[in-house]
């Protein structure tokens, strides 16, 4: 059956609880039966409006964000350090210890900031905003390992959040973002020795996509970005290092600086199309970011989306409103077909099952083992995503993480039925019929989706029927939740 290519809205009659669940999975971190029902009751348009919150309050700062853990030396300090370096062995040693201490403090702060963001995702009342921050973190990928200043990573994250519905703002601000400038070495891009790193990624990965510019454009763009540098935690334009002469970028001559260069890129048709591809990959289907590998039918749909983005001048509020209500988004060929990212899986499980807080170190390790350390993407390409998330190793981690969240049992520890600290009966609120079948269906519909056929539920029914204290007994529910989260269907959204 061919897929519906239309971005026009589904009729109100198709706005079912299953459709509401699909929206919650893709534009939030999922939800239990009650959350699905609440969203459904709002009706199609109000439901989607309720998720799009460009004016949401800013989350509290991480407690330990300290702008001065890593700071450039003052003039006096520089002189002092130079003296120490030239001094005897003991002075050099003292200098080395100072540097190591600063790095240690920075790494400690980094762990706090990672924890803080996961916590924001877990508790936020505007989950779509955090999904967008994740998207932009992956799109404008920057890693702490190279930046080596946790505060700058936090600052960038806040910038993504403040402008998460406005791609033009994001693109304009990323060339003035200290973390990015350091990550791609633009702080060393000067008229005397131009560094092409940022100019290249700006076109290839951030705005146009490969094949939509020439090597000469990169050279000229790099000159436009000369002098875009960093002073401690702030952007600094170093006029003396900037090359003010005329450049020709994508066929147009001008006295480009970095900002004009970005505006030139935003004006190209390739740019909204590229943004459409990224949005499509994030919200609709795992197509990857290589345009040539996208099937024809989907290319056409994405082109239409690109025109929509252009029409709205990169304002994603009306764009997402349309996407999330659309016939294409709700086509059965797109429902339950995306592989959940580790963040989506972990946060979604915590939010949906309302599991108690667990050891942060364990959770951080799980994220690392699943291949998604926040603020530390593997490269400027970001995470591969899609099927690359899943292999024989990560699949066990994904399943065992859910067991840990539900039971508190670490892989190497025995199970302690009284030590779970978790009351799963909250998930049955409002469910009157408590037969084994009704309980299983209630959980499976919310956690796996209504489309999962009866045959796939048979083993769960059998398990539930075998519980002598009833299927709604807390221990039976814990067992069911562990098995439901271990099913292949749970890895998808």
């Amino acid at each position: 059956m061919p897929m519906d290519p239309s971005w026009s809205p589904i009729p109100e009659s198709r706005w079912t609880p299953a459709a509401a669940r699909h929206v919650l999975q893709r534009a939030a971190f999922g939800g239990d039966a009650n959350a699905i029902a609440r969203l459904h009751e709002l009706g199609r348009d109000r439901a989607i409006e309720s998720l799009i919150q460009p004016d949401a309050p800013v989350p509290d700062h991480p407690v330990d964000a300290d702008p001065d853990v890593i700071k450039p030396p003052s003039r006096e300090e520089r002189i002092e350090y130079r003296r120490m370096r030239a001094g005897d062995e003991q002075q050099r040693e003292r200098l080395r210890q100072m540097r190591l201490a600063a790095q240690r403090n920075d790494r400690a702060m980094f762990r706090q900031i990672q924890r803080w963001w996961l916590d924001v995702m877990r508790t936020t009342e505007t989950p779509l905003n955090e999904r967008l921050v994740l998207l932009w973190h992956n799109h404008f990928a920057t890693g702490h390992r190279a930046v080596r200043d946790a505060f700058l990573m936090y600052q960038q994250n806040a910038m993504f959040r403040a402008h998460c519905y406005d791609f033009a703002q994001l693109a304009r601000r990323i060339v003035r973002d200290p973390a990015m400038l350091k990550y791609l070495n633009n702080d060393r891009n000067s008229r005397r020795s131009p560094n092409e790193n940022l100019a290249r990624e700006l076109m290839e990965l951030f705005t146009l996509g490969a094949g939509n510019y020439t090597e000469q454009d990169i050279k000229e763009g790099a000159r436009a970005l000369t002098g875009y540098s960093v002073d401690d935690n702030d952007f600094e334009f170093r006029r003396a290092q900037h090359d003010p002469s005329t450049k020709t970028i994508l066929g147009a001559k001008g006295d480009y600086d970095g900002d004009a260069f970005v505006n030139r890129l935003l004006g190209r048709d390739a740019c909204p199309r590229f943004v459409a591809l990224k949005l499509y990959d994030h919200f609709v289907y795992d197509v990857g970011d290589d345009w040539d590998k996208v099937p024809r039918d989907r290319q056409r749909v994405i082109l239409t989306l690109g025109r929509l983005i252009k029409k709205h001048e990169y304002d994603l509020v009306p764009v997402l409103q349309q996407v999330l209500a659309s016939r294409h988004f709700h086509d059965p060929g797109n429902v339950g077909k995306k592989i959940r990212s580790p963040a989506h899986l972990m946060i979604g499980t915590m939010r949906t099952l309302r599991t108690p807080s667990r050891n942060n170190r364990m959770l951080a390790e799980a994220m690392e083992q699943m291949g998604q350390v926040v603020f530390e993407p593997p490269s400027v390409n970001g995470w591969d995503g899609g099927k690359a998330w899943i292999n024989t190793s990560t699949l066990y981690v994904r399943q065992n993480l859910a067991v840990y969240l539900v039971t508190g049992k670490r892989p190497d520890q025995p199970f302690d039925a009284r030590g779970t600290g978790y009351d799963p009966t909250v998930l049955l609120e409002g469910l009157d019929e408590r037969t084994p079948r009704a309980v299983v269906d209630h959980l499976a519909d919310a956690l796996l989706g209504e489309q999962v056929p009866e045959a796939r539920r048979a083993a769960l029914y059998a398990f539930a029927e075998g519980r002598n204290k009833g299927a709604d007994d807390p221990q039976a529910l814990i067992g069911l939740l562990c098995m439901i989260t271990a099913m292949p269907e749970y890895q998808l959204c």
């Binding site: 080395r96 795992d286 400027v380 099927k387 024989t392 892989p411 769960l460 292949p488």
Partner: protein, 444 residues
Amino acid sequence: MCTDYHPLSSNDTAATDGYGFTRRALLGAGMGMVSAAVTVPGFITRAGVAMADTSMRVSSKSGVPEDRVLVVVQLSGGNDGLNTVVPFGNGAYYRNRPGLAVPDDQVLRVPGQDGVGLNPGLRPVLELMEQGRAAVVQGVGYPNPNRSHFVSMDIWHTASPETDGGTGRGWIGKALDGVKVADGLGCVSMGAEAPLATYGKQTRAVSFASPENFRWTGRDLHPDMSKTYDDLLDTPLDQQHARRTDLGEDPLAFVQRTALDARVASERVRRAVAQRTNNSFPGSGLGRQLEMVAKMIRADLPTRVYYVNHGGFDTHAGQVNTHANLVRQFGEAIGAFHRELEQTGDAGRVVTMAFSEFGRRVKQNASGGTDHGVAGPVFLFGDAVQPGLWGDHPSLTDLLDGDLKHGVDFRSIYADVLGNWLELDDGAALGKTFRPTGLIRASA
């Protein structure tokens, strides 16, 4: 075992491309060592045992490349190369390290080798050398060295010193991309997190600190759950998922297939590791890891590359005892590993390579330690290894910013173990072709 081999018979011409090193660099000492080895009675006895064992193994497929295994030992933190392969004949060594140098009379002498010997903790390595199955390449590094642990380790893992940021893919992962290995077991890494080196476009290492974590832990809750989990996995998917989508395998079918693979892989690995070894292994972390690897090799898992880690080499302060212990643990674990491989008849199909992200500075610091340096030694073990001390010991006086200069690019060694040993596409994995070093014997 290597009596039929003589390095002088090699017709390889001297080749150097600025990265590799010349065949001439194989020191005369190495050649002496080979002949010395055959006169050691213990060696002949042990080899005799090993050969008898191999011939009795019906399933032995020696010589078939698919059967060959590479074991990578990562010495994390920056191993002090100068106290590992010790230039005891060089006055500059003792002048620069008055409190740290290995005393002359404790250095293990390598037969036929003047002025350079091994740390006393490496006696098992010396024995392997005498048997003609160990090589030490000296002065291995790369151009424009980076002294950050993270960056330098990334460079060794991705095999790309030029790029910053990189692709997030490693030399082993890229080499195994596109190679079909049963049950997703192409690469197994000991430790909770797989190292960057093992990441390919498709390749992911199976990684676990303990095999008990490489399984679904919900089985521990209740026997009924174990049964239900298996029933759920064995329930076929609806017919619609069997069809390919416009973007390849149906996502649900893909996850279900991976889950089935994982169950088989988990059972194979855990069954293998539950066996007992013939030899006792040291109780160190490295000893335990290599013990598990030996068991998996014996169980004929389809795994091509095993990755283990031995950490703690970042010896900025109070180095003497710490480093001596780490080196001794390394020597003991390697010794036990090779004794075991001999007895199981697997010695012929395993090559082990040990490396560290950098060496350390020539001069000791004020805290009785050494700071991050550059070039260091790489170890290779196995019957297929061209034995001896390779490369020149880096000069202790001709320094670059107080550091040793590297003589051998690490990627030329990667090229050898990938191309000549595993017979994988080393060019694709390394981004360019490096001349083989000759460290792997062509006739192996």
